[in-house]
């Protein structure tokens, strides 16, 4: 079989031999948040389906989102979304061939992390302010 003769070959050193760095962590977080959002979108579709169904089912789903576990999930979803979004903008900048200077890369990594936390908190404060 095709895949079999590759499985026993020695592997070159991988991620674990490198000292963890912020830029590396941000790259890993971009992927992890992407995967988290992949499954999180299910909640969004669930909410839409319930809204299209009937009042009773909509109430159950809203009840879930307003329970503290639902809020925690949505808070995590918000952060993952903003982190992945800002990380994506970083990648789009790199796609234009700009921003590869090490100081810029380091700054972007910090801005990505700080920006995601600040914007998530701002959005939730705004959300509570709008709904109250």
């Amino acid at each position: 079989m095709m895949a079999d003769n590759t499985s026993r070959r020695p592997l070159s050193p991988h991620l674990q031999i490198y000292r963890p760095m912020l830029t590396m962590m941000m790259s890993i977080m971009h992927r992890i948040t992407g995967v988290a959002l992949y499954f999180g979108v299910l909640l969004l579709v669930w909410w839409l389906i319930s809204a299209a169904s009937n009042d009773h089912y909509f109430g159950i789903v809203e009840g879930f989102f307003f329970h503290w576990t639902g809020r925690l999930l949505l808070f995590g979803f918000t952060w993952a979304l903003i982190h992945h979004g800002l990380g994506g903008l970083r990648h789009l900048l790199w796609d234009t061939g700009r921003g590869f200077d090490l100081r810029v890369v380091e700054w972007l990594a910090r801005a990505n992390l700080a920006g995601s936390i600040v914007l998530t908190l701002a959005l939730w404060i705004f959300g509570y302010w709008v709904r109250s």
């Binding site: 579709v45 839409l48 389906i49």
Partner: protein
């Protein structure tokens, strides 16, 4: 059982000729996702906790319905491409990889159809 190496089997066949399209669609949907996701988040925040009738009234507006549909189209296409890369990076057993790629396609397609169904149903007021 063939004694040929994996490299020997594929050498000379060329690429699948779909790499550039994958890359380009990833970027295309990434750019589209920026405004569409902002609209989607705005829609969710302004309706969480509202009575269901308010949600229905909003989606009855064609602009809102079309923007929601576009958002899901772009986001789900982006998700499918992204997860495909993750699977190809980590799942190396041929059978499992095929299964994971199939499930990726099924999951994103099912979510898309479900979202479109919900949006259209609310928008047409059925």
């Amino acid at each position: 059982m063939s004694m040929r190496t994996s490299l020997g089997v594929v050498r000379g066949l060329g690429s699948a000729k779909s790499g550039t399209e994958h890359f380009w669609h990833q970027r295309l949907t990434a750019i589209a996702n920026v405004p569409l996701t902002i609209l989607l988040v705005w829609f969710v925040i302004s309706h969480l906790g509202s009575p269901r009738a308010d949600v229905l009234a909003s989606v009855r507006n064609p602009f809102v319905a079309i923007m929601l549909a576009l958002a899901f189209l772009s986001i789900l296409w982006h998700m499918r491409l992204g997860m495909q890369v993750v699977i190809e990076d980590y799942v190396h057993r041929a059978g499992w990889k095929l299964l994971a790629l199939l499930l990726n396609s099924f999951y994103t397609t099912a979510l898309g159809i479900a979202a479109f169904y919900a949006i259209l149903k609310m928008s047409f007021g059925i």
